[in-house]
Symmetry: C2
Subunit: 358 residues, 2 copies
């Protein structure tokens, strides 16, 4: 089967995303390194797909390093550890990293690549649904700081991204389902037709049908590629990708980044944003119902912390917060979203308290 090829950006910062079944075995020809040498940094949890990658890159690995794929790993110290190992191995400017794992690993390795020798190339091989549909796409890299997530980082797009649905085969059901939330989000903000396909394909996708998963992921990647190409540094349209993330980030932080997966927190954030969209953006009851129904089929999700006193300080920390309120992404109808600049904090908190997923 011929893989699908999607390009993002152009020139020095061009990323090529390859999507297809069986791509892991073709890593040797699809991943890019100017020198031909690779530094592999992979998730300990990823297992089999990393084995396939290692075999495909055999004889060309300058470094083969495993890291924990958990939010606690996403620190400046981990970047330093990767840089130490790469420099000790003799990394040169024309070598390239390969990050194989979930969003934590691709964010971390992409950032290490961004600052090592003032920037070396890297490639991403996402092994989670969230990584394939979202985290590994678009060039944002970074690490967390005690004061918040992703506060240190760089825009440094991977040269090549390999999306092979087989890489998600060993994912737990919880990780698999929560990862799909970001794919649905992409459809809802930009693509009515894909939103319809998600509803049609959700049963086989949830039954782990790889072709069905690939169709949904590929639709989400096309949307993200399109949005990111037109707005690489999040000045405008790229902000739409934050649908569900204003409260999502607060829910995630309120759970200490442990109680909820990112996708689960975003699901609750989308449910709340749908309610605000009903009031402020004339989202119809029918469209709101369709969004919630899909979230219901992806769930049930663990309950978030909903108390205003817990969420208020976390919301205030939002990068888009000003004295007049907090910017949010609202859905006008399925397939079309817009940014509203100043939604009062109390409105967010009320929506958080009342959000339901059927």
């Amino acid at each position: 089967m011929t893989p699908e090829r999607i390009t993002i950006g152009s020139g020095e910062t061009e990323s090529v995303v390859w999507l297809g079944q069986g791509l892991l075995g073709q890593a040797g020809s699809r991943l890019i390194s100017p020198s031909g040498r690779f530094l592999l940094v992979s998730s300990k949890a990823a297992g089999e797909p990393v084995g396939a990658l290692r075999a495909a890159l055999s004889g060309r690995l300058l470094l083969d390093l495993e890291v924990e794929d958990s939010e606690e790993t996403k620190t400046l110290d981990s970047v330093r550890a990767i840089a130490d190992r790469a420099l000790a191995a003799g990394v040169r400017r024309d070598d390239a990293f390969v990050a194989a794992g979930g969003g934590v690993v691709t964010d971390l390795v992409g950032f290490a690549a961004a600052i090592l020798l003032r920037g070396v190339a890297w490639n991403a091989v996402p092994t989670t649904v969230a990584g394939m549909a979202d985290a590994a796409i678009g060039g944002k890299t970074g690490v967390d700081h005690p004061l918040g997530k992703n506060l240190l980082g760089a825009f440094h797009p991977p040269r090549s991204v390999l999306v092979d649905p087989a890489a998600a085969a060993t994912l737990s059901d919880r990780d698999y389902r929560s990862g799909l939330v970001e794919a649905c989000k992409a459809a809802w903000i930009r693509d009515a037709e894909l939103s319809r396909r998600v509803e049609q394909l959700l049963d086989p996708v949830l039954a782990r049908d790889e072709a069905a998963l690939l169709e949904i992921v590929s639709g989400a990647v096309r949307i993200k590629a399109d949005v990111v190409s037109s707005d690489p540094r999040e000045g405008g349209e790229r902000r739409l990708l934050n649908f569900g993330h204003t409260l999502g980030h607060a829910f995630e932080a309120a759970g200490g980044h442990r109680a909820l997966r990112h996708g689960e927190a975003v699901a609750w954030g989308i449910a709340a944003a749908a309610a605000i969209s009903r009031a402020r953006a004339a989202l119809s009851a029918a469209d709101s119902g369709r969004v919630l129904a899909v979230l219901g089929r992806l769930g049930p999700f663990a309950e978030p912390v909903r108390l205003s006193d817990d969420l208020r300080p976390l919301l205030a920390r939002d990068k888009k917060s000003t004295a007049r309120g907090i910017a949010g992404v609202l859905l006008e109808r399925i397939g079309h979203a817009r940014v509203e600049e100043s939604i009062p904090e109390e409105e967010w908190l009320a929506a958080a308290a009342e959000a339901t997923i059927p």
Copy 2:
């Protein structure tokens, strides 16, 4: 007096360099912050010029932090400390840093700005001659690593650079003279006319005449701006700026980055490269003599470590080292240099052993 304005690059990465006497007092209108707020990080050693800056930015400082201006400070931990303080102060994406100090401070703060919130703006106010003529110009930022200098970093040009010769008034004679080496280097690789002016103006420059210093620095900045604009990421012409730096970096490292100032090490590196240029690039005895005579007037410089056994491992570490030799910049005549890709290590070591400055 109207200040001189030199722009480097364009669009998102445009830098504007302002050069003139009395500019420190105009910092409020010349430095750029999208939000109007600044985070000042300054060298403890800089003294008076920082006071002038502080006064000019009064009421707009979100942070006012002093750091040591020594090579030991140029670490990832210092970047983290700056990021911690900036985040605790509530830095936003539209705020901007001001780095006031020598090359260590501008490299360090520029790098912190590059990775904080995936990149905030910054401005440079160099307070050393080396900073004005070289370090603060061109967008290279970064920190050292136990395995080498500047191994972690980013290309992140400052929005605005203020060059006021008064900022160098309190420099020690040693720092002042060694800083001039980089300005002379710029002239020799690209500008025969400026090389001539350096010879004519060196006495008043050494007597601390600010107008004379400004003329030389301004010529050096024009050259660097020109080279960097045509080759921002050092693929080609920018490599010419490394004239004297192949052995210079080795001399510096052999002295533990303490025995010699960067400019002093580069002066010895230029003396050695001039000898290699005589043999390999047909540099005339007259031009070589003129280069050495200027270095002699800037000196005397402390003796470098010249032993091949000490220098060999440091040279091998050079980023431009390959099995066939080490790339170097050679002077064909005053005002014109070229890169030679593979000069055998033994030739470098012999030149290091024999380099003399009259």
